[in-house]
């Protein structure tokens, strides 16, 4: 029988507290989130035979080490993926595929970040190789600069403004104010946004995600087994990726768009869905502009219209689609996009409390920014 994506389901979600400085190791944080996800799934470490995570080479803990730390002695499937937010979809889909192909029956996928990695600065004297050897000597080396370059070009070609970026930051912060788990809960005004300090113009402080320590884990198993577990299973309706121009933030051909210009058409074609079918959109938001570009690329609105869309209340409760009801990486906290998966599953289980999107049946979760990234759509049993 042909294997289908629907033969696997997300059955558990877990996370730690998010804080600026946990004083804990990545292994400790990851183990806590993985244990919590298994408890949520009604499973134990003894049930687990697969593990996966992604990292960018520091401040992480390997999948095998974390599995061992929660008492798993032997993994039949173990995959450490090198990458950042761009690779979340790939990591989760690796777990789904491991299950649907019979390589594993219960897989935990997680991401952990701890204080010794903060992406926004690089203050030590370093040598830079690869493509960055041409950029680093000019003081052009860290993510806020890369994506501010994209925003600048968009402003030039489409006339988008600081106020438009601010509308995204303000909306996400308002959503986070309903989320006890968020680190940024105090609502901000347009004045607050405009008066926040410049980071890399055109980005201000409130354009940038809120970097934290923490971990998020999800548990994936077979749909058959999911039927007997405590929570309604959440299914993957389809997934897609795009990796353009060698992953270069200098050579990327059209910086008014992002990876999503390639990802979105594939995803809509594979699922038969379109933007108007999406109830919850967990848009990867390392920066406000990431939301702007990817939201356009996924076809929620035309180029240059995102600011008006948000200001009109179309991206929140009672609007067209609820964008990042948890507050996203901008305000809930930066767990590299794994927290978007947590939120999507919570929403589709109807367990999101006072920020529940009414009758949420579909959730788009994007991952990545700039030249590479992916997206998947989660659905409830009713959407299969």
């Amino acid at each position: 029988m042909k294997q289908s994506l629907h033969d696997a389901a997300v059955v558990g979600i877990g996370r730690t507290n998010y804080s600026r400085k946990s004083g804990r190791t990545p292994t400790s944080l990851a183990a806590e989130a993985c244990r919590a996800a298994l408890v949520d799934a009604g499973l134990t470490p003894a049930d687990v035979d697969g593990f996966t995570c992604f990292d960018t080479g520091s401040s992480s803990a390997s999948a095998s080490a974390v599995a061992h730390a929660i008492g798993v002695d032997d993994l039949g499937w173990c995959l450490n993926v090198y990458g950042g937010g761009n690779i979340v979809t790939t990591t989760v889909m690796g777990a789904v595929t491991a299950v649907t192909s019979g390589q594993a029956e219960v897989v935990v996928a997680y991401r952990v970040l701890a204080s010794n990695t903060r992406y926004g600065k690089n203050l030590g004297v370093i040598e830079v190789d690869g493509e960055h050897q041409f950029a680093g000597p000019h003081g052009y080396l860290v993510p806020p600069q890369w994506f501010a370059m994209f925003a600048q070009r968009h402003q030039h070609e489409y006339g988008s403004t600081s106020e438009d970026l601010g509308a995204i930051a303000i909306q996400e912060r308002l959503h986070a104010s309903r989320n006890p788990h968020a680190v940024g809960k105090d609502p901000i005004t347009l004045d607050d946004y405009m008066n926040s300090r410049w980071i890399a113009e055109p980005f201000r402080l409130f354009d940038c995600c809120y970097e934290v320590d923490g971990a998020v884990a999800i548990v994936i198993t077979t749909s058959d087994r999911a039927k007997d577990l405590p929570h309604p299973p959440v299914y993957v309706l389809g997934a897609a990726d795009s990796n353009r121009d060698g992953g270069s933030v200098v050579q990327f051909s059209d910086m008014t768009t992002m990876f999503s210009a390639g990802t979105a058409p594939k995803l809509w074609k594979r699922t038969g869905l379109q933007a108007s079918d999406i109830d919850v959109a967990c848009m990867y938001d390392c920066f406000t502009f990431t939301v702007m570009a990817t939201f356009e690329d996924f076809g929620f609105c035309e180029k240059g219209e995102v600011g008006d869309y948000f200001r009109a209340g179309r991206a929140t409760f009672g609007g067209d689609v609820v964008v990042n009801p948890h507050g996203g990486l901008l305000s809930e906290g930066y767990i590299h996009g794994m927290n978007h998966h947590y939120e999507a599953v919570l929403q589709l289980r109807n367990e999101a409390g006072n920020r529940q999107v009414p009758n949420a049946q579909t959730a788009l979760v994007t991952s990545g920014a700039g030249p590479f990234g992916g997206a998947l759509i989660y659905g409830t049993a009713a959407t299969l």
Binding site: V125, E127, G136, H138, G139, V142, M149, R153, I199, V250
Partner: protein, 149 residues
């Protein structure tokens, strides 16, 4: 024996230093010799410019070399860095970094600081000209860009 004084300022931090490999060293050898050169396919039917450099053309697999370019181009996009974020640029704020699309080929881009201009006057599609400047640290020469008059 040298003496020190506690009032001496700490040495200025150094910017990130290039770590060339065999595919990129031609770029740095050229700048050290006063030339801005980019990687280009030698196949007469191809002649593709490419960045980052490769030892074989990414389209036709023919050998490549480094050929001098005019240094003229347009600002595709830029940022005004106003917060200390990268070593070597902790004090001289703000500074402007552009992604410059070189005239030699659409999409052939080189990052570099845009200098001798106030940040408010920089705009996308502005015409610029490369000049070569030593990189603090003493071992490398890098291209910077100025408004082309």
């Amino acid at each position: 024996m040298s003496t020190t004084t506690e009032h001496t300022d700490a040495p200025a931090s150094l910017p990130p230093q290039p770590a060339p490999d065999v595919d990129t060293q031609g770029f740095w050898e050229a700048t050290a010799n006063g030339r801005l050169a980019m990687c280009r396919c030698i196949n007469p039917q191809c002649r593709l410019w490419m960045m980052p450099p490769l030892d074989a053309c990414r389209k036709c697999a023919a050998p490549t070399n480094f050929e001098e370019v005019s240094g003229q181009g347009s600002v595709y996009t830029f940022v005004v860095q106003r917060q200390a974020a990268v070593s070597g640029y902790l004090d001289n704020l703000p500074y402007v970094v552009g992604i410059i699309e070189l005239d030699e080929q659409p999409g052939l881009r080189l990052p570099g600081r845009i200098v001798d201009i106030i940040p408010e006057d920089v705009h996308c599609d502005m015409r610029v000209q490369a000049a070569l400047e030593p990189l603090p640290g003493g071992d490398y020469v890098v291209p910077v860009f100025r408004v082309l008059h």
